[in-house]
């Protein structure tokens, strides 16, 4: 298939398929995460209470391939 040996095709489609399944399982299991979102009005930090600090680095959640 595609001019590639069977083993290669199996691996380069199979492993990503595993990751897709993993991601879907994770998304399903973590469906309760919404509950932990900081409440909307806290984000504006204009409320009347102490404001939670943010860590002092430009923090970019890196969910993508790293390299």
């Amino acid at each position: 298939m595609f001019g590639l040996p069977a083993a290669t095709v199996a691996i380069i489609f199979g492993i990503p398929a595993i990751w897709v399944i993993y991601t879907l399982v994770f998304v399903y299991l973590s469906r309760g995460w919404k509950a932990e979102d900081v409440a909307e009005d806290k984000l504006t930090a204009g409320g009347s209470g102490p404001t939670t600090s943010a860590p002092g680095h430009r923090s970019e959640p890196e969910n993508g391939g790293m390299a």
Binding site: P5, A35, E36, G56, H57, N63
Partner: protein, 512 residues
């Protein structure tokens, strides 16, 4: 100057212009506003993140591995695709909660709070800076090579310009660090990469035809076992290749700190879906292009330039300039984030912690600046004389970081028995074993990758030493309490948990 260079220059001026303009219109909170993800949502969040994760490795390293090893190089991609979701699923929420309770501001401080001992920081900080240095240097090399190819300026000068721009950006980059530029960069690179891939496929007559042609050169290149065929396969190396960018990724301090900052886990969770989707398409792309380059450019003297040269061949001139510009910008923003991280580690986790405790804030900034400059200078000197391959350096630094830090970060949130001696020995053994393995060339002799060895050593060390020293060095009570709190999260009904303020965990009275 050739056309491509003009486009490069125009692009940079445009980016700087956007940055200055945004500053002038007083959009002071733009970073905070957009990071919150409220108006952008998970798809765009994921897109922005892509621009920082696409760096010199993708464009130089991946291409060069593919050019020299064929489909074997895709083992690295196989791990990379899942790295993000793996990291988030294992560390994300627990690390956030635990760091909230412990009151940590940086990911290294988090380690010391979890494993209370000054030794933890004394070991973790230098190891982190060491690895960050190598990764930054790889970005320098990538930038220098890229500039050299596009503009024709000799490497030494191109490198100097690249380093200069990166350092400049680090010092003043805040003015440019608006979401607009990240977003625009991401779009440019994605379009660029897709365009290059499509152009390549057209030039070789389709994927199947391309594979057939590569097979003519050496049929082993089509297998996943390397150019010397199945008999030469070293399973240890393959396992290491998959592990490096899947698990190793969890050891990067500037990646983990984002878990601590996660204000909206639901966005992070959804973004991880989009990110996996993007990764499926874009991580394998440079590898495929690199492989096809064997047909289009059979006599490249520098395989690192495979992707660039292919782009030059298949894209129209103006597109090359813009894509190059997008790549340079990606390199800059990756290098800048890492340099800043190292500056902060040097000043907070090392200098202020151990040398001058009452360091003032301006001194702290100066230590950061000084560190950045020193790393840039050393990086330039090493990179200009005999630059190592980008791929090698990135893999090496991720390996060491992964071996040293992954077990301690994972155990921090998941294993109540992980204690200080366990953590110390884990980090030390992980670092030493992976570095020694790499430097003494034991890879070839044993067929085992430094990543594999490193992870195994550090994990075993953590487990065995923690168990052996449970009595003499028990985990402190407040840490155990914090871990129990972290565990609780699963048991509480979601509707009650909504909007909970984790910071209040540290204000619960004894008699509650």
């Amino acid at each position: 100057m050739n056309l491509e260079t003009w486009f490069l220059v125009i692009y940079f001026i445009a980016m700087v212009g956007i940055g200055v303009w945004t500053l002038k219109i007083g959009n002071k909170d733009s970073e905070g506003y957009l990071l919150g993800g409220r108006s952008l949502g998970p798809a765009v969040t994921a897109l922005r993140l892509q621009s920082s994760s696409m760096s010199g490795y993708m464009f130089l390293g991946a291409g060069s591995l593919a050019y020299t090893k064929g489909y074997f190089s895709l083992w690295y991609a196989m791990g990379d695709i899942g790295g993000g979701v793996l990291n988030l699923s294992i560390l994300g929420r627990r690390m956030r909660k635990l760091s909230q309770i412990l009151g940590s501001l940086t990911s290294i401080e988090y380690l010391e709070h979890r494993y209370p001992s000054p030794w933890i920081r004394a070991i973790a900080a230098p190891v982190a800076v060491f690895c960050i240095f190598f990764y930054v240097m790889s970005q320098f090399i990538a930038g220098g090579r890229g500039l050299e190819m596009v503009t024709g300026i000799p490497y030494a000068w191109a490198l100097l310009i690249a380093v200069g721009v990166i350092v400049f950006y680090t010092f003043l980059g805040g003015y440019l660090a608006v979401a607009y530029t990240d977003f625009v960069q991401a779009i440019i690179m994605l379009i660029g990469m897709v365009w290059i891939l499509i152009g390549t496929m057209q030039a070789v007559g389709g994927w199947t035809a391309g594979n057939n042609a590569v097979g003519e050169i050496n049929p082993n290149l089509l297998t996943m076992w390397g150019p010397d065929g199945f008999g030469s396969v070293q399973w240890g190396v393959i396992i290491g290749a998959v592990l490096v960018f899947s698990i190793g990724y969890m050891g990067w301090p500037h990646v983990n700190v984002s878990h601590m900052a996660m204000k909206r886990p639901s966005v992070a969770r959804t973004a991880s879906m989009y990110a996996t989707g993007f990764n499926l398409l874009f991580i394998p792309a440079p590898y495929i292009v690199g492989i096809m380059a064997l047909i289009l450019l059979p006599n490249l003297d520098n395989p690192e330039l495979a992707v660039f040269q292919v782009a030059d061949t298949v894209l129209p001139n103006f597109a090359v300039g813009i894509v190059m510009a997008g790549i340079m910008a990606a390199i800059m923003s990756t290098a800048d984030a890492l340099l800043l991280q190292s500056g902060t580690i040097a000043s907070q986790d090392l200098f202020q912690r151990f040398i001058k405790k009452d360091m003032s804030d301006s001194q702290s900034v100066w230590v950061s600046r000084f560190t950045v400059l020193i790393l840039a200078i050393i990086g330039y000197i090493v990179a200009v004389n005999d630059p190592p391959a980008v791929a090698e350096v990135v893999i090496f630094s991720t390996t060491v970081l992964g071996a040293a830090f992954v077990p301690v970060y994972v155990a921090a949130a998941w294993w109540k028995k992980a204690n200080v001696p366990g953590a110390i020995s884990s980090m030390v053994l992980g670092t030493v074993s992976s570095v020694v393995w790499q430097l003494t060339g034991l890879v070839d002799v044993t067929g085992v990758d430094p990543m594999g060895i490193g992870i195994v050593c550090s994990t075993l060390a953590l487990i065995l030493v923690s168990l052996a020293t449970q009595k003499s060095h028990p985990v402190p009570a407040h840490v155990v309490a914090a871990l129990k709190e972290t565990d609780k999260i699963g048991a509480i009904p979601a509707h009650m948990l909504t909007g909970q303020n984790d910071a209040l965990a540290a204000q619960v009275p004894k008699d509650a």
